[in-house]
Structures are given as structure tokens and as C-alpha cells.
């Protein structure tokens, strides 16, 4: 298990989902953000206000060899995890789906579909304190934070052409490259951030909230 890569992904997820003041990321034990997996099966959630359980779909693990990789889960198990967390006053938060959103009312519905449809090999199920959780766990994406971090493209990204960096590049550097020699516009940043956030959700780009060259855990 590549815990450092899992932690980076969990941290970026938490950042995109609007979580702030994450000082210490820890594996399976206390920290501002605790990253864990469901293998062996979780009986109790780690004590933290912010917990990321990393899961994958079986089909995604078979389809792609990309890292990081989390243990495969199932819709039934994801729903069990949500119930388990609720007993510890933790709630799942999930953004609106890009695909097949109809009928997905709860955060668990969206988490199941996102895990299966986008085929991530390691997806963070992010749990926060229930008292802070939005209605139905529906969280808004804070896309503006994307450019504060690092970007690494896995495959060519539609809309970025050859500018998609295949090694980690800061968002500001990428924005400069995208602008090139043309006059800067205030919409350049938001447009690029939106495009990258979507590509990240579809699994074609890796985004980092912290320098990936530095070990997170």
C-alpha cells in the first residue's frame, strides 16, 4: 500500500471539498486528517474530525494499473461504512455527480456511483463531523484551490493539449503556460481550475494540495 500517495489523494479531496486547517495528515491514527482503508474491515472509525477511507472498484483495479491503489469495495460495503461512521457522529460528504446524477439523493448514493463510474483505483470517502455536515452530505467543490497546488496529468487532457504536464507542476506555473503570450484574463484561472477539477474527478489528472516531492506521512 502506497500510504504516502493515498494520503496525498485524501488531502487533495479534503481541500477540494472545502476542508480547511489540515495541519497533520496521519495514517490510521489521530491527526487532523486520518487516512485509512477498509482492510481489514473497519469495525470502528479512527478518532478524528476528518477521516478519509480509501476505496476502489473491482472493475477499476482490473482496468488500470495506475497508482495509488486501495482495496476494492462494493456498494453494500460503502453503505455499511456510512452507517458505521454515523454511529460515531461522522457523515460522508460528496459533491454532485457529473454523470448519472438522477436518483442519487444521498452522499452514499453519490459515493457509490462516483466510485464505480469514474473507476478510481483509490477514491477518498471523506467523513466529517455530523454537526458540520451539509444537508444530504452535498458538498460544493472549491475549484479555486486547485491552482494553489500541483498538477500531474496521467493522460492528455481535453482543453489543455500539449500543455498538460506529465510531471508535477504548480498551478501557477501551469496557468502562466496556458496564458502564454496572450493578454491575461481574470477568467483564465477559474476556467483552468474548473477544467482540472473535472479531469481529476474523471481520473485523467492527479492533483495535489501539498508538494508531492515531499513525503506527507
Amino acid at each position: 500500500m502506497n500510504w504516502n500517495a493515498l494520503a496525498h489523494r485524501a488531502l487533495f479531496t479534503a481541500t477540494l471539498y472545502g476542508q480547511r486547517n489540515i495541519g497533520r495528515v496521519a495514517i490510521q491514527s489521530s491527526g487532523d486528517l486520518v487516512v485509512t482503508v477498509d482492510e481489514p474491515r473497519l469495525e470502528v472509525f479512527p478518532q478524528s474530525k476528518l477521516v478519509a477511507v480509501m476505496v476502489a472498484s473491482t472493475a477499476a483495479l482490473a482496468y488500470s494499473a495506475s497508482e495509488p491503489r486501495a482495496p476494492a469495495s462494493t456498494p453494500e460495503r460503502i453503505r455499511e461504512l456510512v452507517e458505521l461512521a454515523a454511529r460515531q457522529h461522522l457523515s460522508l460528504i460528496e459533491p454532485e455527480l457529473l454523470v448519472a446524477a438522477a436518483g442519487a439523493k444521498t452522499a452514499a448514493d453519490r459515493a457509490v456511483r462516483a466510485t464505480l463510474i469514474y473507476g478510481s483505483t483509490a477514491r477518498a470517502l471523506l467523513f466529517i463531523e455530523t454537526r458540520s455536515a451539509p444537508k444530504n452530505g452535498l458538498v460544493k467543490l472549491h475549484e479555486e484551490r486547485v491552482l494553489d497546488g500541483w498538477i500531474e496529468a496521467r493522460i492528455p487532457i481535453e482543453g489543455l493539449a500539449e500543455l498538460a504536464p506529465n510531471t508535477p507542476t504548480t498551478g501557477r506555473d501551469l496557468l502562466r503556460a496556458v496564458r502564454g503570450n496572450r493578454p491575461a484574463s481574470s477568467s483564465d484561472g477559474p476556467q483552468l481550475a474548473k477544467l482540472l477539477a473535472r479531469a481529476w474527478r474523471e481520473g485523467s489528472v492527479e492533483l495535489y494540495a501539498a508538494d508531492p516531492a515531499q513525503p506527507l506521512v
Binding site: S57, A59, T74, P75, V99, L116, Y118, G119
Partner: protein, 446 residues
């Protein structure tokens, strides 16, 4: 016991639309077996067992053309067996049984387990393979199919999505409707990587369901028993071989034959198996094609080109090979008679084997009992005629009929009306048909 009860309920509650399985017909199995150098029994007198036969349509459709062959089938679903028994043929025995109780059935030249292995609980899988081993004659050929990895992975994702989305629904029709709504949404998704592959699989699945669902069916029962089934586990080629080996069965070949060497990547796998103490198969050989018959189903489409039933277009040149086969169309022709010398025969055999692998040509080890000669009082198999009769009586707009090589076609009512009269006694020449239409006031001026 619990899974068996659940399945009894499911298949009795929601009947499965069983159809003939072309690749599981004894002649189709004999063809592949003989290409692999095995001494398979002739279809005309074969003893055939179908494990989990549903309403027996796969057996009945074959038995209708092979009166000297004998067919036995059983299924857990009482309703399905009752439906099959209502269409009884003297050479077919259908009965209700679970797999454990179905023993001492005798020895069979062909044992078919179509739509079983992936869709039954693990314990039943072991018993299924054990029963196949116990029922196969020393030179017998078994047929097994299953969902296959890695090709089925995208279907797995669709299945998990569908089962999750419909978990709160009780009504099978509502479950299927919700499933197809979700599949359609995913099919429309744009994107690369996994999402693109999943969307492609969703489109393929939706197309398949649109084609396979009978127009008069209230909903796709196939979706209910496949994507939404309680049991549906895929196997890799290697895992299937391991399971067969544990049951003292040996894999002979896939069917249809694989087009190119390399790992199996399709989502669905059909294989021929044999007892592990039977003479082992040898590599598929083009030379053995010379001992087979070719279905010369060449329809002229102009410009010296012909279209086969499988949709392939051929342009034969010269006097031998396909050019000679074209002159024999329609009907079956011995491959050996299509060329005059060994070199030409060898080249033709290679060409036909390649076309057989691609599904362009139909080869058979056993020429089916059908005629291509026109008569004034044509006759179709009694079973087919009865099926047409029932469909017309029920007011159906169409019905699936199965031909002598076990291929099924959806036939419109207008043709069913004619087919039901083909009893071998009633005159039915073109003139007779026109006369009947005139007498029944169907013809209009112009």
C-alpha cells in the same frame, strides 16, 4: 438450500425468455470437436442432456429436426418445465429437478449447461460440473458458458451500479426500467479512460437489450436474470480451466473458435469440454475442414458479389472453391468436392477455416435434415409450424422460429400466417398463395 429456494422463486416468478443456443447444438459441437481431431457422435442419433434447460426451447428446437436423437432436460423452475412440456415432442423428456437430485440420468453424447455456471451459487457450480462429468459418454462433448474476465469487468461495474440503484425496488419491471435508465445515462457520458470504456460498455449493453428483448415482452427479463441476478460471477479463462480440471474435465476449445491467438478478452466465454480420460484433442487443423460440409448460403447482390446469411460479402473468382460453392447455393456442399487437386483443396480449407473463425462461413460436421428444393406442398418441422400457429392464435406480431442449424429468427406475423400452413399436404405454390390472397380479398387494383 436458501439460494436454491430463492432461484426457484425468481425463475418461476419472472420467466426467462429461453431461446435455442446455436453454438450448443450437437452438430455445432461435433463440428468443433472434429476440427480438434475428436470422434464426436453424429447429431442425427445423439443423446443430449441439457442441465438447467429452462423451458427446454434449446432442446425442443433441435429435437424438431432430429427425430432419431434423444433429448433430456431438467430445470428447477416448475413453470418453465411446464411450459416446455406443453410443447412435448416424443424424443424430448423434460422434468423438474434440482441439480443434486438429478443423478443416474444415463450416459450422453452431448451435455449442455447453457447460462448456468456464472449464475448459480458456488455449491451448485461444483455439482453442475460433477454432473456433467458423470453424464458424459467416454467420447462425449460438454458445452459450458460463463461470463469471462477481464472482458466482463465493465459489466461488473454496470451490475453493481444497477443493483445498488434498484435495491429498494421490489417490482421486477420497475427494477429493469430503472436499470435501463441508468445504463442509458452512462451510455451518453463523454470522457476518456475508465469512464469512456464504461460508457462504451453501457452502449453495447443497451443495444444488446434492444435487440434481444421480445417486442411483446413486458420488460427485459434477461436484464433481471443477468445484470440484476443475485448470482452472477465471471471467471477468467485460467480459473475456468482450474475448475474443469478439479471436476476431471478437460477443455477442448472455445466456441466459436478464437479468431486470433492471444489471451481471451471477451466478456462471455463458451467452451467445449470432455472427460479427462478421453483421448485428448489436437490442434485445430485446416485439413479436417475437408471432411466437413459448407453451407452455401450465397445470395447474389450484383457485380459478381454474393452475401452470406452472416452478412459477409464474397466475390468468388475462377471455377473452383467458393465459385463452385456459389453454383451449389442454396444448400450444403461437401468441402472436398469444391476443389480438384490437393493444393487447391488445402488452400480452400485454410480459407474456409479462417472464414469460419471470423463467422463468415458456416461449416458443419453433420449436414442438417433440410431441403432446399421447392415443392407445391412445402413442409416445415411440426414443432416450428405449431409455434407459428400458437403465435398467430395468440395475436402475436412476431415469433422466434429456429431453423435446422439451430439459428433463431424473429419472423413477422405475415410470414407466420404462411408458415403455419406448411404441413406437407396443403398446396402452397406461389400461384396458390396469390389465389388465396385473391379469395380473401387482400388484393387491390394496380
Amino acid at each position: 438450500v436458501a439460494p436454491a429456494r430463492a432461484m426457484t422463486f425468481r425463475y418461476d416468478d419472472v420467466p426467462y425468455d429461453s431461446e435455442a443456443c446455436t453454438d450448443a447444438h450437437p452438430a455445432a459441437l461435433a463440428t468443433i470437436a472434429r476440427l480438434a481431431g475428436l470422434d464426436a457422435a453424429p447429431a442425427a442419433t445423439a443423446r443430449v442432456l441439457d442441465i438447467g434447460c429452462g423451458n427446454g426451447e434449446n432442446l425442443l428446437a433441435a429435437a424438431a429436426y432430429l427425430p432419431e436423437a434423444s433429448f433430456v432436460g431438467f430445470d428447477l423452475s416448475k413453470n418453465a418445465i411446464a411450459a416446455g412440456q406443453a410443447n412435448a415432442l416424443p424424443n424430448v423428456r423434460l422434468f423438474v429437478s434440482d441439480i443434486e437430485s438429478a443423478n443416474d440420468l444415463g450416459s450422453f453424447d452431448y451435455v449442455v449447461a447453457h447460462g448456468m455456471l456464472s449464475w448459480v451459487p458456488e455449491e451448485v457450480r461444483r455439482k453442475l460440473l460433477a454432473l456433467m462429468r458423470a453424464s458424459l459418454a467416454p467420447n462425449g462433448i460438454g458445452f459450458i458458458d460463463c461470463n469471462a474476465l477481464p472482458g466482463w469487468e465493465m459489466r461488473r461495474a454496470l451490475r453493481e451500479l444497477a443493483r445498488d440503484a434498484t435495491r429498494a425496488l421490489g417490482d421486477p419491471a420497475a427494477k429493469v426500467a430503472e436499470t435501463m435508465k441508468l445504463v442509458s445515462e452512462i451510455a451518453r457520458a463523454k470522457g476518456g479512460g475508465f469512464l469512456g470504456a464504461l460508457a462504451s460498455a453501457a452502449r453495447e449493453y443497451a443495444d444488446h437489450i434492444a435487440r434481444a428483448t421480445p417486442p411483446d415482452a413486458p420488460f427485459s427479463r434477461y436484464v433481471f436474470h443477468d445484470l440484476l441476478a443475485d448470482c452472477n460471477d465471471p471467471f477468467s479463462f485460467t480459473e475456468l480451466e482450474t475448475r474443469l480440471s478439479a471436476a476431471r474435465l478437460r477443455l477442448i476449445s472455445e466456441t466459436p473458435l478464437r479468431q486470433a491467438p492471444g489471451p481471451f478478452t471477451g466478456p462471455f466465454l463458451q467452451v467445449l469440454v470432455q472427460r479427462d480420460d478421453a483421448p485428448a484433442p489436437t490442434a485445430i487443423s485446416a485439413e479436417r475442414v475437408l471432411d466437413l460440409d459448407l453451407w452455401a448460403d450465397f445470395l447474389p447482390i450484383g457485380g459478381g458479389a454474393y452475401r452470406t446469411t452472416n452478412g459477409a460479402v464474397v466475390r468468388p473468382v475462377g471455377d473452383e472453391g467458393l465459385a463452385r460453392a456459389v453454383r451449389s447455393a442454396p444448400g450444403f456442399v461437401a468441402v472436398r468436392e469444391l476443389a480438384d487437386d490437393d493444393t487447391s483443396r488445402h488452400m480452400l480449407a485454410e480459407q474456409l477455416l479462417a472464414g469460419f473463425r471470423e463467422g463468415v462461413f458456416t461449416l458443419t460436421a453433420d449436414r442438417p435434415p433440410c431441403t432446399t428444393s421447392a415443392t407445391d406442398a412445402p413442409r416445415v418441422a411440426d414443432y416450428v409450424r405449431a409455434r407459428a400457429e400458437r403465435a398467430v392464435a395468440a395475436g402475436a406480431k412476431s415469433a422466434v422460429l429456429t431453423n435446422a442449424i439451430h439459428r433463431s429468427f424473429r419472423v413477422p406475423r405475415s410470414e407466420l400466417e404462411i408458415i403455419r400452413t406448411f404441413d406437407g399436404r396443403t398446396p402452397c405454390s406461389a400461384e396458390e398463395l396469390v389465389d388465396r390472397l385473391r379469395r380473401h380479398l387482400f388484393l387491390v387494383p394496380g
